[in-house]
Amino acid sequence: MSGQFDCVIVGSGTSGGVIAYYLTAGGMRCLLLEAGDAYGADTFPENDMDGSARMFWGGGLELSTTAEMAFLRARCLGGTSVVNQCLLDRFDEHAWDGWQAASGIGFLNGEEMAPHYAEVEGRLSIREVPPTHHNRNALLFVEGCERRGYQWAPLRRGETDCAIEEGNDCIACLNGCRRDSKQSTLVTFIRWAQALGLQVMPGFQVERLESTPDGVRLSGTHQGQMQEIRAPRVVLAAGALGNARLLLRSGFKKRLLSLGEGFYCHPQLMTFAEFDEPVDAHRGAFQACKSDDPRFRQAGFKLENVFAPPTSLAMLYPGFGPRLQAFMLRYRHLACIEVAVHDTVPGRITADARGKLHMAKRLEGEDARRGQAGLVAVREILESAGARTILQCPMSFGLHLMGGLAIGRDERTSVVNGRFNLHGFPNIYAADSSVFPAAPGINPALTIMALSHRASQEVLRDV
């Protein structure tokens, strides 16, 4: 396939969908490649097993090299935006300061990124979860925070109509929103771009990327068949692990020494608490509140009220047999709060000769201290809310997979420059979570969109 497209975009998640839209709207002929399958409101899996197996890499989970940390990354059209909670927060100055220090890139500040935030926010339906949507899990979070004097705030979600008042349970949308309410790229930017002529190819796994004198050559498998695509330029939007794997397999590490370095994931630690009365944390709005306390931000963690479907809960429980079953029978009586660590200890992504990814990432040193401080706060909150017993789960996991292609000025310590090009490769761009030069400690989705909008303007300027 050659000569048909001005740009190929690899990965259809939060970044790929946004970039595909702005480039197509700017008049470019674009092809969006996605390794996973395309699902929609009528075809999303209806149980957790099928959801995990079909819509996530690794059949559900991928593990760190020591198997102490599990990573979840979506593999479907729309990527992680289809299976996350679409929490959309802007970065604060603390996050931008950290990025400035790590990257030396001038525009990475709240003021210069504000127009890009405004552009993408203006196209989405974003609202704070109102108190009327708080289920008992959220009410306990608020009650515990207020008794301990901790500040909290409502979460800010991309949604149109979740029908909470009518009895809809948003836990089901962990396998995709069957109401098309969640503002995933699947139902927003990709849909809009397709209306303008974007070509979408699900089921295409890109295995190699080569820079050529007239652009790029991509090769991979589509429905079991090897295919090659040539185009003047490519945007890598397959996330921290996907982008790193493709570039590592394609030999870019020789030129880009920092490729795969600086991997962060906001390690998350779940704590469950049992209450005498049913909590029914799986009912209604799945998530509603977060901590908003400067002391927590300073200490390097944040809290969110959240819960887990039965399979995830059983996995998180440290044990098996009758003890596990007795615990699961208390499902309706459990509340949950998670700690998300603002991690500072970088991990590393490598790929072996067969293309298997290895993620060296541990919750250690300062990050472990931050996690422990968060767990102490969670225990205080849950005890204040009247918890009978508390279970802190030993396994941590990462949903916000960031870094590996850090943005920066110095070619020795970064992979992508301030124009979102790989250093030395003007036809290869990246603007997704892989370019994060440090963990922000804030939900990354909205900033990925804003960076992607800015990157799309750079690509259009280059054409």
């Binding site: 149980n47 097993m49 989970l61 020591t66 009895g167 009758p322 007795a326 499902y331 396994m395």
Partner: protein, 133 residues
Amino acid sequence: MSEILTPREVRALERVGDVVVPACGPLPAFSATGCVRYVDDLLRYMPPGDVADIRLLLRILSVKPTAGIRFIMSLAGAGRRWPGPIGAALRMIEIGLKGLVVSLYYSGKTAPGYTGTVPTDAIGYRPRVIPRA
């Protein structure tokens, strides 16, 4: 029943399942639900190397008595506290086997004609999706 696992491996998975999620009050035992017949729905999406590892593990466990399976699951669970490659291997065994079992068990899928309690019903997990008008 499975196009990926041999009958011996399926039987071993059922025995592991009954150790991980035995009958308990209203919760049925893993093998009673017949959910194992859907194992291919999981395995066909897993990396081939992981499937090969699980099959090897199941073949090893197939010759162990139930007490032996329980011991190995206990050992694997204790791997959380072990450093180094041995701890990593034990954690992978625990996550691999337990993940397979609880994914099937809480999928809500049961054998045709199954009349017992569905595990998700027993714990009160029945999320509602209100269709868009």
